[in-house]
Symmetry: C2
Subunit: 342 residues, 2 copies
Amino acid sequence: MNKSMPRKYRQVTIMDIARETGVSYSTVSRVLSGFEFVKDETRQRVLEAARRLGYVAHAGARSLAGGKANIIGLLVPGLDNGYIGEVARGIDEELARASYDLMLYTTHRQRGKESVYVRSIANGLTDGLILVVPLVTDYLRELQVQRFPYVLVDQSDPSGQSNVVDATNWQGAYEATEYLIKLGHRRIGLITGMMQIASAQERLEGYRAALTSYNIGFDPELVVQGDFWEPTGYQAASILLDLEHPPTAIFASNDLSAFGAMEAIRERGLRIPADISIIGFDDIPQASLVYPKLTTVRQPLDEMGRVAVRMLLDLIEDPDQPARHVTLATQLIVRDSCQAIG
Amino acid sequence: MNKSMPRKYRQVTIMDIARETGVSYSTVSRVLSGFEFVKDETRQRVLEAARRLGYVAHAGARSLAGGKANIIGLLVPGLDNGYIGEVARGIDEELARASYDLMLYTTHRQRGKESVYVRSIANGLTDGLILVVPLVTDYLRELQVQRFPYVLVDQSDPSGQSNVVDATNWQGAYEATEYLIKLGHRRIGLITGMMQIASAQERLEGYRAALTSYNIGFDPELVVQGDFWEPTGYQAASILLDLEHPPTAIFASNDLSAFGAMEAIRERGLRIPADISIIGFDDIPQASLVYPKLTTVRQPLDEMGRVAVRMLLDLIEDPDQPARHVTLATQLIVRDSCQAIG
DNA sequence: CACACTTTTGCAAACGCTTGCAAATAGCAT
DNA sequence: ATGCTATTTGCAAGCGTTTGCAAAAGTGTG
């Protein structure tokens, strides 16, 4: 195109620093990357020059040469659901402390060729990968054969080979249901999540367990399948409300579907919580924004992100660690959407 | 560490493809990057081999060698406000079509050393940058001296040197206010945004203009400064409601502060919209989730992201284009939070 | 002061790719 | 065939780093 001007602004390289300080570029490299054996005085001089010159490493060159790029990848389905946003926030914060950068990948890109996609992520720039994706199994093999560091968030790998951080789904669902029961509810509807996902199953189990504990019969009619999204929550709630004996309370497997359910409830002219109670799961930021404020089970989403980062960084340090599984505690957050039965 | 095993899974390189097809690596490179003059049959053979071998380019090497990395950077304050999420979605979608990847940067990282931060972004990997940041001026100089391609979203550069995409803020605010006026409201409160930001000012101007058009006096008491965040919206609304002659309607400069205002209103036992109307700006996804559903001015956030990407890609193609400024239309979305005055 | 270490430093090669330049090949008119 | 031009290809250098290996400086010891 236009070759009269430099394609790119001339970068400050380790060569420049070397020239400035009179040491060799390898020495500069050593102080700038890890800390090998270099005399303290030299190190200071180099560091000072680097700062003065405004040096910033070229991540590509680093990674090419076999070093770390200081970049990790985050693979998510999309940014549009609050849930991911919170996790991402935690990730970003923790990454910042370690001076890592973030590459964001979304799954909707590939449609059936995930392994190529994942390969392209693992290849090259990123030092590790955090996956916050449902239905993760397809990706995993590729990652494992490459021995590429990754951690799963809120997802479980049946093979147990993966590092994962999740929350006490069973427990949380148990508590939510128990809370409803203690408020006097006996007919409690459940809107499930995508049942292929472990957390959805665990929440269903928790719900059943609570019923059992309190000697309430399990009525299949009262559980309708959802998919963690709002529209389906709406439909699911509609089904529940149209039952001959509709529930007096609904437990939605996540907040988004609870919102959908609230809408369906209101449309029928019912009041929340006077006529029907509703409880969600996740505690995304919107939960306290809706009216009435949603009672829900809080997952420490940002903390999950932070923990994931720490695990990943550890893993990058030492790829041969045995896989860890960290489970963070959920917590019942009582707000305004539930009420003792009249 | 452990040097007995390869640090990284051996990658498929252009050399492998060259070997496979019997052409030289430069030829392979040529077909794989741009399309220089290469015989069609050769191109096909190379492409086929690349696919078969599962080749994926090493972005770092590319960028190092002076080519494009096919990565663009996105600089945002954070992911936690719905607004950004929508823009990011548009960006991601459009990027996907062009096979670009996304690096995500957040501003909270730097505190006072933004120029180094920006340099480190511009340096190396990314081919261009999209900024969705308030108070952008600090960054701009660095970017400009580097002649680094960037575009501003929903932000304006007073110098007019920048490519920017935004929305009709003045117009939108005018229409929102006019809508309230036509509903019979005469005392209309305004919760502003951060006034250092152009869009906040434009919205204020639009509000004033509408009042003027309808011969309603501007009462300074009725405009209170906000910052686009929910808590401040709450406070601002409180001030408004405590006025001797409180407004009968409130125009919040964005949805988030409208949510805060709604909370304040409800806390005082007032009903929306029966006792007081409220209108927002942005139409983030939550707007239709809250109760009552928020009437608001829609910014086509995802489209703004998409347009920004297209502009940026153009700009990367030809950095010497004159700066463009694209303004997308806003649209009044009538929902349930406004009502004609009693 | 020589000797054997130990700590620091420097050189060179390599990482995967792009690209200027020159060489090879093809196409076509003589 | 012979030249000439237009199209295609290959070679080599270089992008900014890291790192193995060897050389250079220090440190102690006898």
